[in-house]
Amino acid sequence: MKTVERTNSIEVEGLVREFKKGPRAVDGIDLYVEPGEIYGFLGPNGAGKSTTVLMLTTLLPPTAGKARVGGYDVVAEGPKVRSVIGAALQEAALDPMLTGRDHLRLQATLQGISRAERRPRAQELLDRVGLSEAADRKVGGYSGGMKRRLDLALALVHRPRIIFLDEPTTGLDIQSRTALWDEVSRLAREDGVTIFLTTQYLEEADVLANRVGIIDHGHIVAEGTPQALKADIGLPSVHAVPVEHADRERLVVALAPYGESLDGGTGDVIIRLREGLAGLPAVVRAVDDAGLTLAHLEIQAPSLDDVFLAKTGRSLEGAGEDEPEEAETAA
């Protein structure tokens, strides 16, 4: 681990979390997030993303390993960690009976912000996340996007140096998602806030993150910039679906000579083209020679899903399973 500095960094070494009667939700991960960086933590449900966030935000003690957030140890210096972080956890936890403004005033008070500053700070954040008009309405009537924006505003009340966002756009429509992405980007770009973002959306990690860590079954299986990870895979893949499902195996055999077969778990026949795009004409001829008719044929440039596929043998979509409940934690 690096020397202790009170920066906006996140340093993790050998972090482990075990659950009662269950597998290790997080199994010895190492990572380092630079100050001011947006770090995308990508993985399916049950991969260990939320458990990692709970540990880094001091809400769940690690079973083993070390982590420093903002230069403070998450186990020994919990209150100091909490003073420099903001978090919007999975499921926007809001009180449906309170208004947006009530929430911000409560949060500001609990964060120790002076009485004189509470009101203007609340208004500033309401303006910033576009909730000024809805500020005095009960949150029970807010849409999912509005709740998520309020959640983000609450995380920003005390001007944290580091923000944890646990699947902040899950369930949001594309408009709300884009608005939230813009705000997150702005936070890092203009305010120098370090952002640790978990997501199961490839596009989100691709668009937002400076670097991505891919987690599966509690292990980090790949880490780097989205561009570097995709370049590492390098070759495009062809996705083909026969008209007759019974022809699937024949299609697999016909395409086998042209590249590595990938099982994405989606039913498509997927081949990573050994010769790149130059191999495409041969693929088309092979399908024709085999007398197969295709319902769908698509060439895909390497994506983060290909990276996930290459590292885990599974596609990110549908790879998840429910993460163990926090209530099952072992002491």
């Binding site: 935000t57 001091t58 809400l59 769940l60 003690p61 998450v74 186990v75 020994a76 919990g78 209150p79 960690v81 909490r82 003073s83 972080i85 903001g86 978090a87 956890l89 499921e91 936890a93 809001l94 009180d95 009976m97 309170l98 009530d102 005033r105 409560l106 949060q107 008070t109 609990l110 964060q111 120790g112 009485r115 009960k138 609450l154 005390h158 209530a327 934690t329």
Partner: protein, 260 residues
């Protein structure tokens, strides 16, 4: 953390309790109306009890007016408990845990909210009593003591609700326990003075039931005047329940808040 910040946190949590309750009409109206309906029904049916030799007053309404204060405290238990249990279930407690809020501020704030609501209920019961002609034997000062007692039992029963919420983390579990708390009320001297209960086992149970002494404390202020023994026992049990409940609630909070 300075005392000023801690106080501000307590006030903010208390304010939230009051605001969220006030925005749910059923949570406000039911604790006011239900005890009054029970009072009217019991008074109508049990008025003849006042003819029993040794019955302490000739007005059963005055005798029974003490009961709503305890029922109100039981509602405090349920409200404080279910509010906190909901916060646990929805993750709102995690949100609070991520702030610099201290655990004591959470408990004190929730109890502060329970006191405000308890005093509103007490004001309503006193007002109804005065309107229907109950003569408070201890006078205006007695009514003030009554309000103080209402605040104390709101804290005591509210802490009990907080403890139950922290232990179970379930609003349904709290609501399931509510009838059990009412059993304590029915097995007390709510309808008959203890020395006039003729069934031995019932008199014994009522005598070891702390709720009897809480009711008799309030009752003494309404129909007797200044009865030091009743006041001492009532406040004694109220404080004892409060101390025990706050202690176990604080311990349960430490277990619930696993933050480092």
């Amino acid at each position: 953390m300075t005392a000023g910040v801690l106080w501000a946190q307590v006030a903010a949590v208390a304010r939230r309790s009051v605001v969220r309750t006030s925005r749910q009409p059923a949570a406000v109206v039911f604790p006011l109306i239900f005890p009054m309906l029970l009072l009217l029904v019991n008074s109508g049916g049990l008025e003849a009890s006042t003819n029993l030799p040794g019955f302490p007053t000739d007005s059963f309404v005055a005798f029974a007016l003490a009961v709503p204060f305890i029922q109100g405290a039981l509602f405090s238990t349920m409200n404080a408990g279910t509010d906190l249990a909901r916060d646990i279930q929805t993750g709102f407690l995690n949100r609070l845990s991520l702030t610099s809020m201290r655990g004591t501020a959470l408990i004190a704030g929730l109890l502060g909210g329970a006191v405000v609501l308890g005093l509103i209920q007490a004001s309503f019961y006193v007002a109804v009593g005065l309107i229907i002609g109950v003569d408070f034997a201890s006078g205006a000062l007695g009514i003030l003591v009554l309000f103080f007692f209402a605040a104390v039992i709101s804290v005591s029963f509210g802490a009990l609700g907080i403890f139950l919420a922290l232990r179970t983390g379930s609003g349904e579990a709290i609501q399931g326990l509510f009838p059990l708390l009412f059993v304590f009320l029915f097995l007390s001297s709510m309808n008959t003075p203890r020395d006039l209960i003729s069934v031995d086992w019932f008199r014994f149970v009522a005598s070891i039931n702390p709720v009897s002494y809480l009711i008799e404390c309030v009752r003494s202020l309404i129909i007797t005047g200044w009865d030091g023994r009743a006041l001492g026992l009532g406040f004694g049990f109220a404080f004892l329940i409060g101390i025990v409940a706050i202690t176990v609630a604080t311990l349960a909070l430490r277990q619930r808040l696993v933050r480092t």
